[in-house]
């Protein structure tokens, strides 16, 4: 069983999704049971995967037992295990929140959710560039379905923009892959790095442009400055539990950029510093854009979407200058920011259920029927979100700032991180004053008909996310030492070559004309 461990995070949601399609007419209770069971199983497997990867070996799973680089391989190392475990955990919280009624607003919600988990886990595990494209498409197609779940004009319109944007992104992805394959003759990520080293000087220009195009596609998914304006539009159109799941989707872009940079581009001198001059500025611009967007936000969902943009920019800083300390800091920050922003979307869901038609807009609304527990959760998660001590947000930001003190623009990076933290604190406090302190405004009768206590699943999801954020704060030492080991592993590129390719000299390489 352990030999097949790397493929389980892909197979479990696939099996559940197929089962859910078969049982589509069996009623909501059955589909919910299948979906929740599958995601809990997936979270357990995620923990097992994380534990297995922690011994530092690079596990390679050959699909169909074809040797790399001819066949497709799944590669389970510390980084992919971390991402799989995080995704699976978030999936549990999202499904618990969704069974509180969101999933009943349309058909096939759970099947889409499972396909989304399959695409996400596959994208994190695959060691092949074209397979990465395929898993991207799987997770995107599922996300299209989840985005328009619930119907309505706003979702349809956001859906069209999102689908068109991502189809264009896929076209760019394929152009980059097609030309890279034409020049390098390989699609395996490790072999891609090896092949980059022997590109003829006359071809280096085109290959470098195609590498940049490839990373551009990943940055589109990560919602980085010039191509990130889609994110607030899409996240606010989706139902709130779905938005909580979409938080991990920007991290897929960051993950893919990090993976391709460390395993591929870093291998050859002409691509090693290709992105650095651009990415730092784009990251800083993204953080600035997110700050402006937060102040302009008219709904709580929009505010959180801008927090997601800021976290994407912060993570990109580490991708721009990958060192052991910066990647380790970024990975800790990635775990905590995913949990925190995901939890915030779930809080928004719990709040908007009590506010009736006003939902999560920053306007006067009916008085909350129950605010003690949710207010406390909001306080703790909000402190973590704006990076104030003593919680994980503070630790994450400090780690990133420490790692960046040796970078090319330390002052700018420090300023951006501190200002974005203050801005987040300000807008989150303003949001809290609207939700919790404003007495019921005139014209809004108290609404005892609205749920007094959030539904059971949603409450459980909130508690799970709350505990996770607190755990990441208090168990910062093991998490950050794991992140450091991960950074060391992915930067030691040479170790991947024998693990994935065996003896690279034995690979018969066709010389392209």
């Amino acid at each position: 069983m352990m030999a097949h461990l790397p493929i389980l995070p892909v197979l479990i949601p696939l099996a559940a999704a197929v089962l859910l399609l078969i049982a589509a007419n069996a009623g909501l209770a059955v589909t919910r049971a299948i979906s929740v069971a599958s995601l809990i199983l997936l979270a357990v497997v995620g923990a097992v995967v994380l534990d297995a990867a922690n011994d530092g070996t690079i596990r390679v799973y050959r699909l169909g037992d074809w040797p790399a680089p001819y066949g497709i391989v799944l590669v389970l190392d510390r980084l992919s295990a971390l991402m799989v475990a995080l995704t699976s955990f978030l999936g549990v919280a999202v499904v618990l929140a969704a069974v509180s009624g969101t999933d009943a607003r349309g058909r096939y919600f759970h099947a889409f959710l499972q396909f989304q988990m399959m695409g996400l886990n596959g994208a994190f595990l695959t060691g092949d560039l074209f397979n990465l494209f395929v898993f991207f498409e799987i997770l995107l197609l599922a996300s299209y379905g989840l985005l328009v779940h619930g119907g309505g004009l706003q979702r349809a319109r956001a859906g069209i923009a999102y689908v068109v944007l991502n189809l264009s992104g896929s076209a760019l992805f394929l152009i980059a892959l097609g030309l890279l394959y034409g020049f390098l003759g390989t699609l395996n990520m490790v072999d891609f790095g090896v092949a980059l080293q022997s590109v003829a000087p006359v071809d280096q220009g085109v290959v470098a442009v195609m590498c940049m195009l490839l990373v551009t596609v990943f940055l589109l998914k990560a919602a980085v400055l010039p191509i990130g304006f889609w994110l607030p539009h899409v996240y606010t159109a989706a139902t709130l539990p779905v938005a909580a799941l979409f938080v991990i989707m920007t991290k897929v872009g960051i993950y893919a950029a990090l993976r391709v940079t460390t395993i591929g581009l870093a291998a050859a001198p002409f691509t090693a510093d290709l992105l650095q001059p651009w990415l730092t500025w784009l990251a800083l611009g993204t953080i600035a854009l997110g700050c402006v967007g937060m102040f302009a936000a008219t709904t709580f969902g929009l505010l959180i979407a801008n927090l997601v943009i800021i976290s994407g920019g912060t993570l990109l800083l580490a991708v721009a200058e990958p060192t052991v300390t910066s990647i380790a800091a970024a990975l800790y920050y990635l775990v905590q920011t995913t949990l925190v922003t995901g939890a915030l979307f779930l809080i928004a869901d719990a709040l908007s259920r009590q506010r009736g038609d006003v939902a999560d807009r920053f306007t006067d609304g009916p008085r909350l029927q129950s605010f003690t527990a949710i207010g406390l959760i909001y306080l703790v998660i909000g402190v973590a979100a704006c990076g104030a001590p003593p919680l994980s947000g503070f630790l994450g930001k400090i780690m990133v700032m420490q790692a960046m003190s040796g970078s090319t623009h330390p002052v700018l990076v420090w300023t951006a991180l501190i200002v974005s933290g203050f801005a987040a604190a300000l807008v989150l406090a303003r949001a809290a004053s609207v939700f919790f302190w404003e007495p019921g405004a005139p014209g809004f009768a108290d609404r005892p008909d609205l749920p007094y206590v959030p539904a059971r699943g949603l409450s459980l999801a909130l508690v799970v996310m709350f505990c996770a954020v607190v755990a990441v704060s208090f168990a910062a030492a093991p998490v950050s030492s794991y992140a450091r080991a991960t950074a060391e592993q992915i930067l030691a590129r040479e170790a991947y070559v024998p693990a994935v390719l065996g003896d690279p000299a034995a690979v018969q390489r066709e010389r392209r004309p």
Binding site: E137, L153, A156, V163, L174, L177
Partner: protein, 109 residues
């Protein structure tokens, strides 16, 4: 041959990009289709332009072409086809809700 293929690719891409920037969903979908044709042909020619070499190892035949781009292009076609079909369904849903084919149909937001 190379010049002809390059010109065709450029033309397809240019028309595709122009149509994607149009304000109605119908032309956007057409534009995406054209763009995906261009991309598919580009991947296909990643194996170089050879008109007489089969993508197979046949005894006695020394010249062969790389079969992998053909597999890749097949995957890309299937995925592109599915995505376009979904986009058409979404455009119809938007038109049913708003009564207009405009990409920003339905007023504010």
């Amino acid at each position: 041959m190379e010049a002809l293929v390059s010109l065709a690719l450029g033309l397809l891409t240019a028309c595709g990009v122009y149509l994607i920037l149009r304000p109605t969903t119908f032309s956007v979908i057409l534009g995406l289709s054209l763009l995906s044709y261009a991309v598919n042909v580009l991947i296909f020619f990643g194996a170089r332009l050879k008109s007489t070499a089969p993508p197979l190892t046949i005894p006695g035949l020394s010249d062969q072409t790389d079969p992998l781009p053909q597999a890749l292009v097949l995957t890309a076609i299937v995925i592109g086809f599915g995505m376009t079909a979904y986009l058409v369904a979404l455009a119809l849903m938007s038109k049913a809700e708003s009564g207009s084919d405009h990409v920003d149909a339905g007023g504010e937001r």
